[in-house]
Each structure stands twice: as C-alpha cells, then as structure tokens.
Symmetry: C2
Subunit: 213 residues, 2 copies
C-alpha cells in the first residue's frame, strides 16, 4: 500500500465519520482536512472535490458489501432462514456504518448523475441477489412454489425493507439498537411467513419466536 493510498483511505475514513455525524452538507473538504491534520491542498491532490470523495466511499461500501455477502452465502448457499437473516443483519451493519449515505441517498443521487449510475447498478445487483435467494429457497423446499409475478413483488418488498429500515427508525425518532434491528428482522420474517413450505413451517415454529398465522 503506497503512501498515497494510505492517505486516501484515511481521508475516506475521516469523511465517513464526519458525514455520519453532521451530514454531507455541513461538512466541507476543509473540515475533513482539518480533522485529519492535513492541508486542503493535500486533500485536493487526492480528490478533486467532495462528490468524488462520496463516490469513492460508495464504491468501497459496495465492494466490501458484495464480498461479505459471498462469505455468508457461499458455503451453505442462499435459501435458508439463517442465511437470509444473517444477510439482513449484515446489510443493516452497512447501513449503520455508512448511515449518512442512506440518509441522504435520494438527494445525493439527484445531484450527482455519476453516483446515480453507480447506485442504480448496485441496486439491480442487490435485487438480483434477493431474487436468487428466493429461487434457491423454493428449490430447497424452504419456500413453497410461488408464481413469477408474485416472486417479483416479494423481491422488491424485501429489498425495500432492507434498504430503508434504518432510515425508518431514524426518522421515526427511534434509536438504532439491538432491539430495533431485531424488530426489522421480525418484520422480514413476517413477510416471508406466508410463503414458507409445510416442512419449513414446522421446523421454524419450534425455533425462534415467530408468530403463526
């Protein structure tokens, strides 16, 4: 790792913290430089402007996210309750670490077309992952058979939930804690419950506190 790379990642790290605390609007490049103890000139040597920093943070988030997803779902493969919930919690961890990003998501992609393109691509990938997880679940007899159209709706339902749960908590005046994250997980289970197969229903029942219909 070269010196430049080290400085670059220190800038990103500091920027993430400041953005999370105060929002991208309130944080200027000069603030980031000052918080890091480097000069504005130095910062501008590495990043042409604030937008570029934000884009770099997004790319980082996406890359790490995809690789963590693979780690969780590769060994056992997707398509069981455990890996789905683990994935959901992983996403929430990301949403927390990069919370400024989801918080300002719509505004950010509006004002930066380049970022928008990046995000839309990632968004589609995520949808594909959910879709794949559902299909695998059906194949493994964890879910029942579901008509294609309904499967599509379920995919979006689940992804929207994963994408905005933290946001929902924040704007509703709730803190992000173990408990509130668990509630999100519960809602996710509730969404999937109607689609569980007979056998899955039986095995899930005796485990966690899922409520029956």
């Amino acid at each position: 790792m070269s010196k430049a790379d080290r400085t670059k990642s220190r800038i990103l790290e500091t920027a993430i913290e400041l953005f999370n605390d105060r929002g991208t609007k309130a944080v200027t490049t000069n603030h980031i430089a000052a918080a890091l103890g480097i000069s504005p000139g130095n910062l501008y040597y590495h990043f042409r402007n604030k937008e570029e920093i934000i884009r770099a943070i997004f790319v980082q988030m996406h890359e790490v996210g995809v690789s963590e997803y693979r780690e969780i779902n590769d060994p056992r493969g997707p398509g069981n309750a455990a890996s789905m919930e683990e994935t959901f919690l992983m996403i929430q961890r990301f949403n927390w670490r990069y919370r400024f990003f989801k918080r300002e998501l719509a505004a950010l992609v509006q004002s930066d077309p380049e970022l928008k393109a990046l995000f839309v691509a990632s968004h589609r990938e995520h949808l594909a992952m959910v879709r794949q997880a559902i299909d695998a679940s059906i194949e493994q007899g964890f879910f029942r058979e579901i008509p294609l159209h309904l499967r599509e709706l379920l995919t979006e339902q689940i992804w929207l939930m994963a994408l905005f749960w933290l946001n929902y908590l924040e704007v509703g005046g709730e803190e992000v804690t173990e408990a509130t994250l668990a509630r999100g997980n519960e809602i996710l289970r509730t969404m999937m419950l109607p689609y569980l197969s007979e056998s899955a229903l039986r095995s899930v029942m005796q485990g966690s506190g899922v409520h029956t219909l």
Copy 2:
C-alpha cells in the same frame, strides 16, 4: 386572506417547486425571492430563514393530508380494500407533490430538531391510522383475526412501504408513473393478502388481478 398571507403562500409554492427540482441545498432564500420577483428583504420579513420555510411547508402538507384522509375514510369508514388503496394513492400523490421532503427526509430532520419533533408526531399519527384501518378491517370481517404483535408488525410494514415507495422508485432509477405507482399498490395488496378473510378472498379474487397464494 391578508396580503401577508398571500405573499407567504406564494413563497411556499415557489419554494416547493424549486426544492423539488434542485433540492433544498442548492436553493437559497435569494433564489426563491428572485424566482418570485420579490426582494430578499421581503422574503425575510415573512420567514426568518430557510428552515422556517421548510417547516411551514411540512405543516401545510400534514394538515392538508389529514383532512384528505378524513374525506376518504369518513363516509364509508376505513377497513375495506378500496379505501386502503385510495389512501395509499393519496399518500403517493402527497409524496410526489412534496417530493423534496421525503427525498431529504432523514437529512432534514437531522439538522432541524424542531422539524424532527413535528415529523415524529405526524409519523405516530400515521401509524395510528394504519393500525386503526387494520383493526376496522378485522372488525368488518375483511381481515381474519390477527394476534396483536403480528398486527403491530403489519402496521409498520405497510407504513414503511407507503412512506418510502416513491423514494425507492427514484433511487432505483425508475420514473414515477401510473404504472410504477400501481406496482406499489400491488405490493401493498401482496402484503395484505395473507390476512384476508375467506369471504374477502372470494370477493377480491374476481375483481382486480390479485394473485392468489
């Protein structure tokens, strides 16, 4: 309506348009004044700053929203599929008219505690409305009996969906059209489907293109 009130509402109207187009960050009080053809001094005579304008817009949105909700649900009462979907569409209309607000929601409430208090109160009211609609649906035999805890989860599931659907479309690179709004509606139906009573299932089946489980 006094002259001041007229000017005030013209300011709000112009602000909404500009905010929707360019985002609150890019729009300054001077821009609003210029777009309206009044002086900055005049604008500041009516509103102390941009935050106050945003708060006023929110209050307007909330008040009109509540009264429209009453109009839809008062005559027949909540608790049937038609009024629920009509309410959902109404909310989406609001989300569109004030789209800058939902777009920047989390960031706005973060940087303005006063606005946050207003929003949280409204948020709770909305949740209560959904809760009430569900209870009424059960009472009228449209929904089956549902345990309290599950009812709570369903409430949040529905409200989160209504709150963020437009946002979801926007960040996903989809335009807001009749078709995409209808898709949101479909997802809403999918969420409620598992909870319909036998009789409701029968009557719903033959109507719209709802997919059976």
